[in-house]
Symmetry: C2
Subunit: 333 residues, 2 copies
DNA sequence: CTGAAAGCGCTTACAG
DNA sequence: CTGAAAGCGCTTACAG
């Protein structure tokens, strides 16, 4: 079926080892012989068998990437895309897997990757899953932005806390006094950032956390009602997609953004820059994160696990502005 | 380092073959012996080496997926995500690669996948690249929505032509008479669909193609000027992202959608459903496409290459409506 | 500069 | 029901 090195060697009239040397350049071969081997290889469409090489070299040059379960946001995609590019540049291939529904299924998936992927990069990890059980597997694991509590593995994190705090501070500076956050319960970094900024805000500021089941457009839209009830004049959404879902709600109800409600999001999706008004957001340090993750994934796992944190960046746009009808301005700074 | 089958066998006090049978269930083993082997395997954290298995079985259970070069749109992501899920269900792993800049780099990538990926699914293929050269490689290739001319490979296509025609017909039905299409030059299916719908429109309809360099938000925004010059009262954009980029242009210039200009897009991005006004678009038959692609990828490549076409579906929303200031209504139907 | 041998860790096919 | 042998296609380490 497929051409083997042996077939090339026979055609070129040399030993299999000489053919191997000529093709890989791993040793001295007479120029004339090398030419003959190359010609034979081309003619037979020879391509080396990666499985055989992996077996012998005990290195498969494949890195696994576990993405979020329902991979549909631009932010996760950008990261996968950057990882793939960086890994390829490092001579590695990218094996993609979405996070399974259950821990057992994940273990099964990772077991099936043994001898295929030497390292696995997680882009998502449910906080309730027993991460220490991964030690039973031979791969090297690392976690990007998984907000893992355990220090047993390498972790690379965006500083969500200060990113969110910067966005909320921006809302306060614009004179907002009834500030909500919409997001999921388990987003520890965002919660802390939100609370931190409010703690420094002083008196006269009301806040509320509105819990959403997901992070999608529909979840932001669904939060509209609770935001109205709270009479929010500013909202921080855990994702840009939620923020843009709320844009739709506001439009249907005739709520002006940022006149009545100022809005900030998180992720820096391309759609936000073109939304009306353009969405103020917090951008991930993706380039740094990915570069470091690939470095780590390729280095031997000997050193102590590290926690590496990169800062997020506030992207100021139009969705935070002067309120139409500023209330309690006198109590503000 | 990693535990081998031999180590498990020794610990359990059986032959390597018996251990193998017990673990894979591939033959009869006495219950008592099987239990001993299982216990040894668990204790030693044994996981089989996939490279060795691939080598012996001459099947690696990995399917490669080549995505667009700048993987940033939701539509491509959805497809990758669906492919990954369908492949996993079929017991396969997904190797991801972004389309390289040059054909030579692609060949290099595919060669490095030999013995790793047995089939490769293309989600993008530049029309100018010599697809026939892929025959020199041992993998099985198939193409999803690549608008490939060559019939040498299996192709699965969305019927873009009738999808676009349906959208344009919808624009005509709403009384529009100056209809533009914004997209890239090489989108053959979309061009044909556009022309087909206009051919049936009869007299009194003006049309224009506005060529864009890309398919992103910024490209749709940039087309705004040319659309104004043409005095378009309707536009079909090759992607939803472009359409939403134009939303921003229209907002800045005070152009009403759909009052002054009706808009339709292609891809059914989630953002379109929440845009203001909600975007009329054409949806890909992703589920069918992906199911068929996986079926094909796993079946032996013996049969003749096929062209399989699935219909696109028009999603009617708010961005096509009654014009504010209908002109030439009397000449319309 | 070149070749014969051994082995990576499994599984297939055979013999007990 | 169990084991000894052979081999997948390459590469490492050695001997010429």
């Amino acid at each position: 079926m497929a051409t083997t090195l042996k077939m090339v060697a026979e055609k070129a009239g040399v030993s299999i080892r000489t053919a191997g040397r000529a093709l890989s350049g791993s040793g001295p071969v007479k120029a004339e012989v090398a030419r003959r081997v190359l010609a034979a290889a081309r003619e037979l469409h020879y391509v080396p068998n990666a499985a055989a090489r992996s077996l012998k070299q005990r290195a498969c040059r494949i890195v696994g990437v576990i993405s979020e379960a329902n991979l549909q946001n631009e932010c996760g995609l950008r990261r996968i895309s950057l990882l793939e590019g960086a890994l390829r540049e490092a001579g590695r291939h990218t094996l993609l897997g979405a996070l399974p529904e259950s821990f057992e299924e994940l273990m099964k998936l990772l077991r099936s990757w043994t001898g295929i992927a030497e390292s696995v990069i997680f882009l998502a990890w449910p906080s309730s899953w027993p991460v220490e059980k991964l030690h039973a597997l031979p791969q090297r694991f690392l976690f990007i932005d998984c907000e893992l509590e355990s220090a047993e593995f390498d972790r690379i994190e965006t500083d969500r806390t200060s990113g969110v705090a910067a966005a909320v501070t921006e809302l306060l500076r614009a004179g907002r006094r009834r500030i909500a956050r919409v997001g999921t319960d388990h987003a520890a970094g965002r919660r802390t950032g939100f609370e931190q900024a409010l703690a420094e805000a002083g008196d006269g500021v009301e806040s509320r956390f509105i819990s959403s089941s997901g992070l999608e457009f529909a979840d932001g839209f669904a939060a509209g009602r609770a935001l109205e009830e709270f009479r929010a004049d500013a909202v921080f959404f855990d994702t840009d997609r939620m923020a843009l879902g709320f844009y739709r709600y506001a439009s249907e109800k005739g709520i002006s953004i940022p006149g009545t409600v100022a809005v900030a999001g998180f992720d820096d999706d391309a759609a936000g820059a073109f939304a009306i008004p353009a969405l103020t957001t917090v951008a991930h340090p993706d380039t740094e994160t990915v570069r470091r993750a690939v470095e780590k994934a390729l280095s031997p796992a000997e050193s102590e696990p590290e926690l590496i944190v990169y800062p997020a960046r506030l992207v100021r746009r139009e969705s935070i502005g002067i309120p139409n009808n500023p209330h309690q301005q006198e109590t503000g700074k």
